[in-house]
């Protein structure tokens, strides 16, 4: 084993620890070999007749160059694969192209160049009927500014996708009521969107996207309008659903804590390009670019990094005594790390096998926020 075990393999090989990660174990079967969504060299250029720079896109024109011809690259040269059951969180500053990327993946807008493969089919080449069919059967989306139909009641809004599927009224109303109960809007079903607060409207949007049990679920800042309490509740609910449904999720947020709670992988975007797409730990511990480092500098590392990530081979360290669990973050272990007197603490996986040793000094440094 190397000095630093690969977190990807760890997170998939390590069984869950109940005391560990949030309230829900991370035992999702992320199957990298079977990508649900894959995109290659995706470009989305806004402006007047963007096709005129099409030929120059493979030589990667700079933003300045594009601006001179009156164009903005909202998504530039993005290649991603999202595996079945994986949850990808997209982050980045305002205007970095997150919403545009998701709109491209759902083909709400046509890309300027590049291909998007969803379940083995190029959605750019789909006919309108095929696309409608795909959306009716597989996709759901929560919109940043809700996109509710103002003339329909809450329950009719939630039932709208079912109506498009052609379900009869009583079935779809029953299903919609179920979804409303799930997001805590029971009793408001006959309200109109205008009569709800922003957070309530957002929950209607979430309920609507859930009504069809989407296999592919796009969420554009779904919790941004919620107050901290409800947000926390919704996140828990969300994690529970995620565990149950095993659907593939692309999730946009500005909130790093949220990203850390939810993400399998995080993609960081800047000016349309994906700077890094990796597990939370890797993003924090080994940022690919200076921008990512800066972006994550305020993050409390101890809450991201797990014991396993800091473990070095146990031989020769003399680590002994009670081991700590590999899946726990340093924050979870803080009290132990501070009060323990050993220089090295053994790290054990769920079966109790020692897989390495934790350098206590390094862990303390990290806990105190000093550069490791």
């Amino acid at each position: 084993m190397n000095a630093l075990p690969d977190p990807v393999t760890l997170s998939t090989t390590l069984p869950p620890l109940s005391a560990g990660w949030g309230t829900v174990p991370k035992d999702r079967h992320v199957n990298e070999a079977e990508p649900v969504i894959a995109c290659r060299n995706l470009w989305k250029v806004f402006g007047d007749r963007p096709d005129r720079i099409l030929s120059r896109l493979n030589c990667n024109p700079s933003a300045e160059e594009l601006r001179q011809s009156g164009l903005i690259a909202a998504v530039r040269d993005v290649s991603l694969t999202i595996g079945r059951g994986e949850m990808l969180v997209v982050m980045g500053l305002s205007g970095s192209g997150k919403s545009t990327l998701v709109r491209c993946l759902s083909r709400l807008i046509d890309v300027t160049s590049g291909a998007i493969i969803v379940e083995g089919r190029d959605i750019g080449a789909m006919t309108e009927t095929e696309l409608i069919d795909l959306r009716r059967r597989k996709m759901g989306m929560v919109f940043q500014s809700f996109g509710l139909l103002p003339h329909r009641t809450v329950v009719d809004n939630v039932a709208f996708p079912l109506e498009m599927r052609g379900q009869d009224r009583s079935t779809r109303i029953a299903r919609a009521m179920e979804m409303l109960e799930l997001v805590g809007l029971k009793g408001r079903e006959s309200y109109f969107p205008r009569e709800l607060s922003g957070g309530q409207q957002q929950r209607v949007g979430i309920a609507r996207s859930l009504a069809v049990e989407p296999e592919i679920w796009f969420l554009d800042e779904p919790f941004s309008a919620l107050d901290p309490l409800i947000r926390r509740e919704m996140q828990d609910e969300f994690l529970r659903l995620k565990g149950m449904l095993s659907n593939t999720i692309v999730f946009i947020t500005h909130d790093f804590d949220e990203a850390l709670r939810l993400a399998d992988r995080i993609a960081i975007m800047k000016d349309g390009a994906v700077e890094q797409c990796d597990t939370p730990e890797r993003i924090v511990m080994s940022p690919a670019t200076e921008y990512v480092a800066k972006f994550t500098s305020a993050v409390d590392r101890s809450r991201v990094v797990r014991a396993a990530a800091l473990a070095i081979p146990a031989e020769g360290t003399g680590a002994e005594g009670q081991p700590v669990a590999a899946g726990q973050t340093l924050r979870d272990l803080a009290r132990l790390i501070v009060s323990d007197s050993r220089a090295f603490i053994p790290v054990a996986d769920a079966q109790g096998h020692v897989i390495g040793a934790l350098d206590r000094q390094r862990a303390v440094d990290l806990l105190l926020g000093e550069p490791a």
Partner: protein, 641 residues
Amino acid sequence: MTAGQARVAWGLVALAAALVMLRESLPSGLVRPPEWMVLPFADWINAAFAFLRDDLGLMTLTRAFSDVMEACLDVTANLLYGKNRWPHLGPIPWSVIAVSAGMVGFALGGWRLAALAGGTFVWIAVMGQWQWAMETLSVILVATPFSVALGLGFGVLAWRSQAFERLLNPILNIAQSMPHFAYMIPVVVFIGVGPKAAAIVTIIFSVPPMIRMTLLGLRKVPPEVVESGKMSGATRWQLLTRVRIPTARTDILIGVNQVVMQCLAMVVLASFIGMPGLGQKLLQLLQALKIGLSIEIGITIVLLAVMLDRLSKAWAMKQPVHHMPGVRWIERHRLLLIWLGLVALTSALAWLHPYFIEVERKQALSMAGPVDASMKVFIRAMTPVTEWLRWFLITWVLIPLRDAFLWLPFAAVLLLLAGIGWAVGGRRSALVCLAFFLPIAMSGWWDRAMITVYMVCVSVLVAVLIGVPAGLWGAARPVRAARLLFLCDTFQTFPSFIYLIPVVMLFGVNDVAVVASVVVFATVPIIRYTIEGILGVPPEIVEASSMSGATRGQIMRHVQLPLALPTMMVGANQSVMFSLFMVIIAAFIGTQDLGQEMQRALSSTDVGKGLVLGFAVAFMGLMVDHLILRWSDGRHRSLGF
């Protein structure tokens, strides 16, 4: 304005002035359009129409359409005033209609609207005008749905296809600046006269605003709402019918409001093509100078206008409200049940006593007799004043001005317009002005057109002289401003015809009456936009200048007026449009302008002539519209709004 632009503009104006100076020694070809310039547009149009009618067999198509129209009209006529046609149910007693209108008013806007709607019908009934009012309403009731459907259809098409929109836009522009009469003549040719023709001309006239509002509404639908519809798997048709149109509801219903108001205005005017009803009665009474009855009918028309406007606006603005869960059916449909109860009650009343079915004329509460008598006294008392005013205005203002306008060499007028165009928007605008005015010279109606121009100029000038101070006075206090705006809003809902009643009463039938009615009609938008312009000046700017020690007068002159000017110019634009319409309508009380010719074309059903005259009026309006829009665009840009 750049320096070069100003130089060219002044050059053109100076040239025009030189032509005016040298008028006596000009060749006649510069004073009036020479023979070779005047083209027989009217003959061409007539030939085209003859081709459409006879060779293309359009006649059968229009006949078929008018048969459909007639069938619909028969139904409403039977229901509203008991015409002996299918479904042989009517007439619905007036008391039933009045309580129903009251209930609709209550459902849409509470007690006040209920009182307005119910009260209007009670007034109509007890004043003995039921038959006439119902004749008018029966046409509106048929025309409105057709217009709305057509407007919605064309609006959706224009929204779908850019090419179609580009084609439609200029047509709509011209259509919306054509005077009412210009629409009537082709309809008379194809359909004839009577309610059928009135309904069709009303539909054609009221479609354009519906198209515009549909287009506007569909464009305004938030993209995320459409996207959420797409992600729900909606097809294009489902997106249109279940997402886009419902979301654009308010704008579309405002379009309906405009359709209703246009319909009312047109139906009243359609009396000129044999439409019975309120308009025809008013026309006859005015011509016979029966003031008392005209006032009563005028009040009816005004009440109908205000009621229809408020009801349809309330409908547009009404947002759905939810019911609490567990509310019983009876509670949810309370209004419906109350309405049914009231209908049963009034039907019983009507069954007991025929007074509640229709009020006969001899039972009517009409006060025409006493009103006429007191009016006679009043008018006699006013006669010295009005006589003098009339004499003074006609001999010292109107006739000299008219002669001056007629005296101007046509080349000088064109040069002057080109100069103004150049000053406002450079070469392009100069060319646009010429393109609009040259055809008027080429139509052969130059003198008539100049008389129209003179009347519009005088009226708008007087309207500005009255309207701007009134607006400034109104804008000084918020409460006053709100009241005045409300008043202007109400006045703008009146069909233009109404404005003739008081002026005919005071001045009789002549030029002064025409100018006076046009002035009244044209002052309303000036007052309104002056107030809106002044209120729209950002308060920080006013506060900043009063902190710099400016007096109220100084603030008004140096801050508020300049900043409000672009908005005020929008008012001036509307004022010019209204004046043009009104001058043409007022023709029947005696003018010698394009309007009079238009009336002649109408009575001799000369399509070519009528349309040429209509285009002449439309082009005048469009030219002013272009100039003012260009000017205020430039102004807005330089003010940085």
